[in-house]
Point group: none
Chain length 144, copies 4
């Protein structure tokens, strides 16, 4: 377990949004949590629906709590929906098991935290998350 | 209801933390929500306990959900604790009824959102929130 | 209802982990509850995600609360998902209805408690639970 | 934030119970969580009521989530009960704000986790927690 600094979390948010703007994505919500599930930095763009933060948060929190990327959570959901329902309850309804939740790992592979992004397609949300994580010098684990 | 832009929310976070650093406060969590209760910007400083975001969020969310500042919520709590207990349930346990939650109002008095800060004393948390709100060109309503 | 001693619960944890280490399983969380659902012994290995205890606990607690092994809970979930959803609510979201939750029975078949293990595949989790239960002189009821 | 190993968590449980037995305390529940709030080791002695684990867990989880020892949580509760009620909700009712919850710090003061003990008087519960923490080479922070 590696500490995530606020400075690094800020860089991830900034670079994820820069990627989204360059690619002309829809308005996004971006949430960065550390290995404890604590929100360290978050921004939600103008024009977002009022659940946007919670959806993005659930992607990040779900990934870091189970220790897998959002694509693995989605695979669980399609293969064993009752397990995913249970995980939803165990996280006190704070899990969004779809792509766009991406684990942050250091170069040695240790867990640092997770990013959750929501607002465009799940695939595009994930691309923005990867861009932010890599720009901050970490490795992105999407669960693919 | 006046729109809160992400740009304004960022300024509030930045200036609240600048005030805290100048005054040598402890590490803070800062959460800015708009008039719908949506988190627009948040940062939690290094060295924070893992409930810090939730405590700060509960200050902001509680204020904007009831439409009063944190000092009014605390007054409710001491004068009519059963009402505060009910408000806690009605917000699904997302209310922290103490100072450090401050409403953001525009110069005409319209509700724009709220800031919640946690980490130092409640009085100092509130001072940082006021500094951020005013630096962004809004009026701070502490409920005092 | 037969009493489960702490000494027996410790043996179950120790022998389940010994089996897992010999079989080179991933890091596990192991939770032993008695017939009342009370946690009597638990250990979570280094390198575990932070929901690991809750997932393992939900396997043990779910089994002992309904009185069936994890494979039966999973069968319920696939055949009558609405019943499983109800059980999730009735246990206050403390049920993980998949294999790896195994009832502990004495040699006469009386209920003694349950073991929940999580971290590797559900099948491997279950093998470790059986190993622990049998090493402590009890019979394992997986619900198969 | 320093990692807590299972080996260290086991030592804390063992030495806390050794202290309790030497001092002839009543049957105890002992729960050790890491800096993320994850249960790493727990034991509940024979003759315990069925809420014993949850009470002990709430002491440990409450301390580590807020970042203060149990005596500070108790002080919050007597001075500002509405704040404590809010913390209860924010932790999803997983906080027991009384002595017997003790932070584990390394020799440099960094947060490693927390111990929660319940079963005898709160003062005696706390003594057992301190004994376990110190025997494992850490510093105990009771919040006094």
């Amino acid at each position: 377990m590696t500490d995530l600094t606020l400075a690094a979390a800020r860089t991830i948010v900034e670079k994820a949004l820069a990627h989204a703007h360059a690619a002309k994505f829809k308005p996004l919500g971006v949430v960065v949590v550390d290995a404890r599930g604590l929100v360290r930095a978050a921004e939600v763009e103008d024009g977002s629906a009022f659940l946007r933060f919670d959806i993005a948060h659930g992607k990040a929190f779900g990934c870091v709590s189970v220790g897998v990327g959002g694509r693995t959570l989605q695979k669980f959901a399609t293969e064993r929906p009752h397990f995913t329902t249970a995980l939803g309850g165990l996280t006190r309804d704070r899990m969004t098991p779809v792509p766009g939740g991406v684990l942050i790992r250091d170069q040695a592979g240790a867990l640092v935290g997770a990013v959750g992004i929501s607002g465009d397609t799940s695939d595009n949300d994930e691309l923005a998350a990867i861009a932010g994580i890599e720009a901050a010098g970490f490795k992105a684990d999407t669960g693919a």
